[in-house]
């Protein structure tokens, strides 16, 4: 029943183009998009921009993997390699993963989940997008004017003495930081005040809780990154000397500042991903989420503890043993809320009716990959083992399992899940599944060897490596090509669906949260009238209509039930 995507659109029937007014066709033209204040359109703008950046960052990743396919020089020299891995990291972190779920998917669905017409500050929302564009432009400027070779972490004093165009990227990252702050600020206010009547805190979908926790981190941590980047710019342009050991400054202070933001930032990346999984698992298992409050509060717990663990990036930097002990202990504390979520997702699947479609496959792969990422984090949190594994490929594999296997897989799963809502079209399930398996298998082939490399002591950020590491590097590179094929396939069938896809019904998956109770795509103001709030995980109220291939509310069939 699901393999209908690429066959001729049978269901076109009444829904001819333009027959129904929605946010996509209510106004047309380039200008109507670039000055739009509609949260859905801003979400789409973000989505397109982020996916473009993802392509760019992915190209750099392939360059890196290709260079590492053999020891010695393969396709580029060390300087070019250093720029390639730096730009891969900087683009993926600042331009792709941090804004991916909150700014693209969150912008699109959050107000609808709340039953609101828009976010609290639509103009600020658009401004946030243009800050993102500004940041991206500065990143591109640096590409043209000599690249960047500091690593995405900008460690001083290297970043103050290298001759590449660091300042441009720093300023770009500063703008991106404010873009992120504006999104977070907007979400907090929206969640506080724009919920529809009767939508209490504990009736919110868990994605909203996750985005709320994320927004807290965005608002509280990002300004510290902002001032750090400003100081580094001042260091480079004015020689202010705060991080320069030759002038009495302390280069390690930079690391403290940087990780004070950047560790919470990994939770900016993973929390919304967990939120998406908390939506996808119950909906596609047709079962009420298990342990709602535990999942909701674990998001907040993660947000709070995430501010107290930054020092675990610096166990070998000469930090005092006491500090190391405290940061190690707190790091383990942050593992608990994540574990709670995983168990709750499992319990949600218990006795469900599990549909293995593309979004669900991504959700399950999230559990698998994030589990690996999280469990390998224990090796890095334990002081004795971290000393060996720190700054090796073990760390590289670990954070790719969490950032890519976690955040990005959830993002792609989320795109598939809300794709019918966003564009009113169904994609091909068959190709969706093929692409998923390519990505999933390719991912593991890429990164499992990197764990082994790390254990053997292969340091990260090496343009070249001793002969004995060759085999594992080659396997890893092959995996990355398989993954790339998967992503290209995804891009092709998704774009294809925009033109040839079957028109999507309002509620193809049987979601109970409010965004599924409006048309696909939604009208400009989201809802005709303020919607009624009820439990977003109560799927018993929805009945599948095989002829329409969608779910509708029981009371619509039989009003006496209402």
């Amino acid at each position: 029943m699901e393999e209908l995507g690429l066959t001729k659109p049978k269901g076109l029937k009444a829904e001819k183009k333009g027959a129904q007014e929605n946010y996509l066709n209510s106004r047309t033209g380039f200008l109507s998009w670039i000055v739009t204040l509609d949260h859905k359109r801003i979400g789409i703008l973000y989505l397109v921009s982020i996916l473009t950046s993802f392509f760019l960052g992915g190209m750099f990743a392939l360059m890196v993997r290709t260079e590492l396919i053999a020891s010695g020089k393969t396709i580029m020299d060390a300087e070019t390699y250093n720029k390639a891995f730096t730009l891969h990291g900087a683009i993926m972190i600042f331009l792709v993963i941090i804004p991916s779920i909150p700014a693209a998917l969150g912008n699109f669905v959050l107000p609808m989940m709340l039953g609101a017409k828009d976010v609290a500050f639509p103009k600020l929302n658009l401004l946030s997008y243009y800050f993102w564009v500004g940041g991206a432009i500065f990143a591109l400027v640096s590409l043209v004017t000599g690249g960047l070779d500091t690593g995405w972490t900008f460690y001083t004093p290297y970043s103050t003495i290298t001759t590449t165009s660091v300042s441009a990227v720093l300023f770009g990252a500063f703008l991106l930081g404010f873009s992120s702050i504006f999104t977070g600020l907007n979400f907090i206010v929206t969640i506080h005040f724009l919920r529809t009547d009767g939508l209490t805190w504990f009736k919110l979908p868990l994605l909203v809780w996750a985005l709320y926790a994320t927004a807290i981190i965005q608002v509280l941590a990002t300004p510290v990154l902002g001032i750090t980047l400003l100081l580094l710019i001042a260091e480079r342009l004015l020689g202010i000397g705060i991080f320069n050991p030759a002038l009495g400054g302390d280069p390690v202070l930079f690391q403290h500042f940087f990780w004070f933001y950047s560790h919470p930032a990994v939770y900016i990346m993973i929390l919304p991903a967990m939120g998406i999984i908390s939506e996808l698992i119950p909906i596609h298992s047709r079962k009420h989420i298990f342990g709602y409050k535990f999942i909701a509060f674990s998001s907040l717990a993660i947000a709070i503890i995430s501010f107290l663990v930054w020092g675990h990036h610096m166990f070998v930097s000469g930090q005092s043993n006491l500090a190391n002990m405290i940061f190690s202990g707190l790091t383990f504390a942050v593992a608990i809320p994540s574990a709670i979520k995983v168990f709750n997702w499992l319990a949600t699947m218990y006795k469900g009716s599990i549909r293995l479609n593309t979004p669900m496959l991504y959700a399950l792969s999230f559990i698998f990959l994030f589990l690996v990422g999280g469990l390998t984090g224990l090796f890095l949190g334990a002081l004795a083992t971290d000393v060996h594994l720190h700054d090796t490929y073990f760390v590289v594999a670990h954070f790719h399992y969490t950032m890519m296997g976690g955040a990005l897989m959830a993002f792609i799963g989320g795109i598939h899940h809300w794709w019918p809502k966003m564009f009113g079209r169904m994609y091909s399930e068959r190709f969706g599944k093929i692409a998923f398996w390519l990505v999933f298998i390719g991912f593991n082939i890429t990164f499992i060897p990197q764990f082994l490399l790390g254990i053997q002591g292969m340091p990260r950020r090496y343009a070249d490596y001793p002969q004995e590491f060759t085999t594992l590097h080659q396997v890893s590179s092959i995996g990355s090509y398989i993954m790339a094929v998967g992503f290209f396939l995804t891009a092709i069938y998704l774009v294809h669906s925009l033109f040839r896809g079957k028109p999507a019904p309002a509620n193809p998956w049987g979601g109970a949260s409010l965004e599924w109770h409006t048309a696909s795509p939604p009208i400009k103001e989201n809802f005709l009238s303020p919607p009624q709030a009820y439990d977003p995980y109560d799927f018993t109220r929805l009945v599948y209509q095989p002829d329409r291939e969608e779910y509708i509310l029981r009371e619509e069939i039989n009003p006496s039930l209402a």
């Binding site: 030759a246 047709r286 070998v316 599990i354 090796f379 004795a384 060996h388 254990i455 053997q456």
Partner: protein, 365 residues
């Protein structure tokens, strides 16, 4: 390790042989063995949970797969005892891991009172090891069964000294000294990497740790320290050039660094900052080492520190010989002057020393 993990450790060692060192060597120190034990202890715990969760996931996928017309069964929405169980058990386990990690770390962090100290300086892109007698080498040589402390710092950017075989790593931070200690029990050669990204040559910042058999280390140190006598002047000069900071600012391949390159430098005419020209011959090079700011080459800043008192005369002569070997004219001279040079050196030695003495006295006044 005080935990009942004998089984896993046993399993660990075998597994270790396979993946960690590709079947070649066991960790050559007690603390590294402890790190491995902890590693496999964590691997056992995480492996258990990984298979538990993925297994349950797969079982649920099969048992509760979607069937047309079959609704999900009724099941509780929450269960406090269950929630608390899977909160508390992981909490206890991670606490155990934390304690084990902390204990292992403290063993590595706290050095015994009596250790053999070697200074380590990271610079782009090599490591310099200064031994207690002042000898500087690009490789780390240590005796077996002797606690060694490395005092690590950096000349430029942050580096990180990484000895995978010992499971040890420590950042080299400019302006700070950090310490690392170990006691190796198995003689042999072990690779050393730079683990903190430091630029173009990061992946070439490799060297090795040579662990000598009992009694051999002292012989090695004595022999190496007298390299100025044992090596040819050109070779000795090259070693000095690489270990005394010359190569940080002067290239030998013609590329421009902070100071002029020494490729085809010796014997050629040089234009100074004030426009005058000099021939870069022995006296000029010697003067430039002891009084670097006297005649600075045009186009470069006067930033070189003096090496007066930091290099002996024999060492300066060796460097001059090395510079000669880098230029066409120098190489020609080298052949001719080989015999004569020794005499000049002994002469210049005495006069130079007295001059130096005068100069320092003047400064004090």
């Amino acid at each position: 390790m005080n935990f009942p993990i004998a089984y896993f450790t046993f399993f660990g060692q075998k597994f270790l042989l396979y993946i960690v060192e590709a079947g070649r060597i066991l960790p050559p120190s007690a603390s590294a063995t402890n790190v491995d034990k902890l590693f496999f202890f964590i691997l056992a715990i995480t492996g258990f949970f990984f298979f538990l969760i993925v297994g349950l996931m797969l079982i649920f996928l099969i048992l509760y797969r979607h069937r047309l017309g079959v609704e999900a069964k009724e099941a509780p929405k929450h269960n406090l005892p269950l929630e608390l169980t899977w909160t508390v058990i992981p909490l206890v386990l991670v606490f155990v891991i934390f304690l084990a990690g902390f204990k292992g770390y403290m063993d590595m962090a706290i050095a015994p009172l009596e250790t053999y100290e070697i200074n380590v300086t990271g610079q782009r892109w090599n490591w310099l090891f200064t031994y207690p007698n002042g000898y500087i080498d690009k490789e780390l040589h240590v005796p077996t069964n002797q606690a060694v402390t490395l005092v690590i710092t950096s000349e430029d950017v942050i580096h990180s000294l990484f000895i995978p075989a010992l499971r040890l790593k420590r950042d080299a931070v400019p302006g700070r000294y950090s310490k690392l200690w170990f006691k190796v029990t198995v003689p042999g050669e072990y690779p050393i990497y730079c683990a903190e990204y430091c630029g173009t040559g990061h992946s070439t910042m490799l060297t090795k740790m040579v662990v000598h058999e009992a009694g051999e280390y002292e012989k090695w140190l004595e022999k190496s320290s007298s390299y100025i006598l044992t090596l040819s002047p050109v070779e000795a000069g090259k070693k000095l050039f690489e270990t005394r900071g010359c190569m940080q600012c002067h290239s030998v391949d013609g590329s421009r660094k902070i100071g002029p390159t020494f490729k085809d430098f010796f014997g050629e005419s040089v234009t100074l900052r004030d426009g005058k020209k000099v021939i870069a011959e022995e006296n000029y090079v010697r003067e430039s080492i002891t009084e670097p700011l006297a005649k600075v080459v045009g186009g470069f800043d006067p930033v070189m520190p003096t090496y007066k008192g930091r290099l002996k005369d024999a060492e300066i002569s060796a460097i001059i010989a090395y510079l000669k070997s880098l230029s066409k004219k120098g190489r020609a001279n080298l052949e001719l002057e080989k015999a004569r040079e020794k005499e000049e050196e002994t002469k210049g030695d005495s006069s130079q020393t007295s001059q130096e003495g005068n100069a320092t006295q003047e400064k004090k006044i």
